[in-house]
Symmetry: C2
Subunit: 374 residues, 2 copies
């Protein structure tokens, strides 16, 4: 293998691939970055046990003198490329499994890893991928994945359930205390599919999706999903098992509805959440719909103090007075993903889940379970 | 106590005082911020075992209705003030050791701490303080404190030795592997003084010194030093003991001298330092002054690989060829504090300390001990 490549282009692509690079792994080969030089392209591959990334670089930034495949120590290789001076990096595979890297006045030799130890990754595309706008995909992930569980005691809840039926796509995440749901209409009709994608894979995917209007191909296989965004392939395992039936958790009738300015509601809940002795992790705040059309947000932490906030809703409150208590963290995380500047909070009763919707967030709902207080 | 105060001004001063706020301390009173409201001023005091800060707020941002002193829970108080809406915060001491905080539509009550438990801090000024330009003081700290030891086995080396004699001020820091020295001429003459100020205190001081041309007063007492910068008082304990005699460590004759472009030298040493298996913490690089007026920087890490860099010095090299090895971290930290874009590295011999000076860094020298290699 012998190539010359533009340093900035190489680094740009390495930093994409880095998202799937293992740092601590029982398999040392996964600390490596696989470089495959073909006749017209440099293919960069990384993998950890959950996700794998393959990026292809094929433009005038690249000059190939000899094809070949090597496995470079990932962390050191990226550190070196980042620090190199000059425009062009020259890489030459030498004898004794060594790689010589030359740029400007630097001459660096890296011991390569054994390519034979690298897993045989299948970035296999299917015949009929789902096509979805990259920005739409990013917003689905942003609006649902945060609500997945971070606990491994019910692994299925660490994933986002994506169900496709005809032109309808529904993404759901829940940790059993709150639930996020986003529904969109696809431009075409697809065969019914129902998969659970690890939330952490999606959090990594969102970082590398380009903010373009172009469509991303989604190839769903038996136990894997492959996202294809231009020259980037992103492969994730799927979670196995049955996702819980969530439709029946969502109330259908809401006798009490309040429209808030989102920022006002957030800052009031933030302040009420401050006085928790547990670093605000799960501080409980109370919401009190008063007779006088004012909403009171409050918290009480006997050791530290108490907070009382008053909010005037945007419109007249629909329904009767109500007192309800919930985790400030869950409400704040839910509010944060709305694009709307006004949100409607809809209540069924004091011990029933409540939901939040927004005029400019079509198809999305956020649900939160209240907590019981004295 | 009852006051109204501009929120942004209050927060600004709280964030200065926060630098000395204890978060983990055996004395819970030190987790508090002391507020003393006098006839015309609000005085904010914080302390941990090493440093104490006292900030005075007295301007039209403040309206005093009733004087008094309280001890507020520090972390919560700052968090609340930071998150408040509105321009003005109203604070009223209530019965039962409570503080009521009102702003916009927020109504917050905090349990106060017991003021009696707070230590009696003496921010005592001396009769003849040293006056020093704030920017000069910042640069002395920046150019020396990084070289103090972080190990507690020789506590004296965790401090910066400041010796004043007449118009001469000399600051020295060393961890016994490298040494930083900065010498300045004071505008006036002072009585001889020799103290050791904890490096960590100085690192905190530098964060709150305003970048002004005005002078800071330095009041040196028996076992404490008090810095006065406008309305901020910063008190630090001094380290007790005798600082080692360092003058004799510094070679006086340098048969080999090389002038480098600082950036070129830094990037070469950075790259050579990358291939350390211990995260670059103490990677050893070699410097080789060649016959052909080229300097080679190299490193070799048998498990990972090797780096070789060539640098053309700015001027013809003075002296004969030489090979020397040192910690890349120490050289990089020393180079980083130079204002000069060209630095001169001066060698006495392969196993003798070498020093670095810069044309636009008058009075400063950085010294590094070489390491022996095979």
């Amino acid at each position: 293998m012998r190539i010359q490549v533009n340093k900035d282009r190489l680094l740009y692509h390495l930093l994409i691939a880095q998202k799937a690079l293992s740092t601590k792994t029982p398999n040392p080969a996964l600390q490596g970055i696989r470089l495959d030089v073909g006749d017209n392209e440099l293919v960069i591959t990384t993998s950890n046990s959950d996700i794998s990334i393959r990026v292809t670089l094929e433009d005038d930034a690249l000059e190939i003198e000899k094809t070949g495949s090597i496995l470079v120590p990932g962390k050191y290789f990226i550190d070196i490329v980042r620090k190199l001076d000059g425009q062009v990096v020259s890489m030459t595979e030498g004898e004794d499994n060594l790689l010589r890297i030359e740029a400007d006045r630097s001459d660096i030799t890296l011991n390569l890893l054994d390519l034979e130890d690298y897993p045989n990754l299948q970035f296999k595309e299917t015949d009929s991928p789902l096509e979805i706008n990259a920005r739409t995909l990013k917003s689905i992930i942003r609006q649902t994945a945060f609500a997945t569980s971070s606990l491994e005691n019910r692994p299925i809840l660490t994933g986002v359930n994506v169900a496709i039926d005809g032109e309808d796509l529904k993404a759901i995440a829940t940790d059993s205390y709150r639930l996020s749901q986003k529904r969109i209409s696809l431009p075409e009709s697809y065969d019914p599919t129902d998969v659970i994608i690890p939330g952490r894979s999606l959090e990594e995917l969102i970082k590398i999706l380009e903010s373009n209007q172009e469509s991303v191909e989604v190839h769903i296989d038996q136990n894997r999903v492959l996202f294809k965004d231009n020259n980037v392939l992103f492969l994730s395992r799927l979670l196995e098992g049955n996702y819980p039936e969530t439709d029946k958790l969502i109330p259908q009738e809401f006798p009490i509805q309040i429209k808030f300015n989102k920022e006002q509601l957030m800052t009031a809940v933030e302040r009420a959440g401050l006085l928790s002795s547990r670093d605000g992790q799960n501080s409980i705040v109370k919401l009190d719909v008063r007779q006088d059309n004012v909403v009171e947000i409050s918290s009480n932490s006997p050791e530290i103090g108490r907070v009382r906030e008053e909010i005037h809703p945007v419109d007249e409150i629909v329904g009767s007075p109500l007192k309800i208590a919930f985790s400030s963290k869950y409400l704040l995380e839910a509010l944060r993903v709305f694009n709307s500047s006004e949100v409607t909070v809809k209540f069924t009763g004091e011990i029933r889940p409540f939901i939040i919707t927004g005029e400019f967030d079509e198809g999305m709902l956020q649900l939160i379970l209240p907590v019981k207080t004295d």
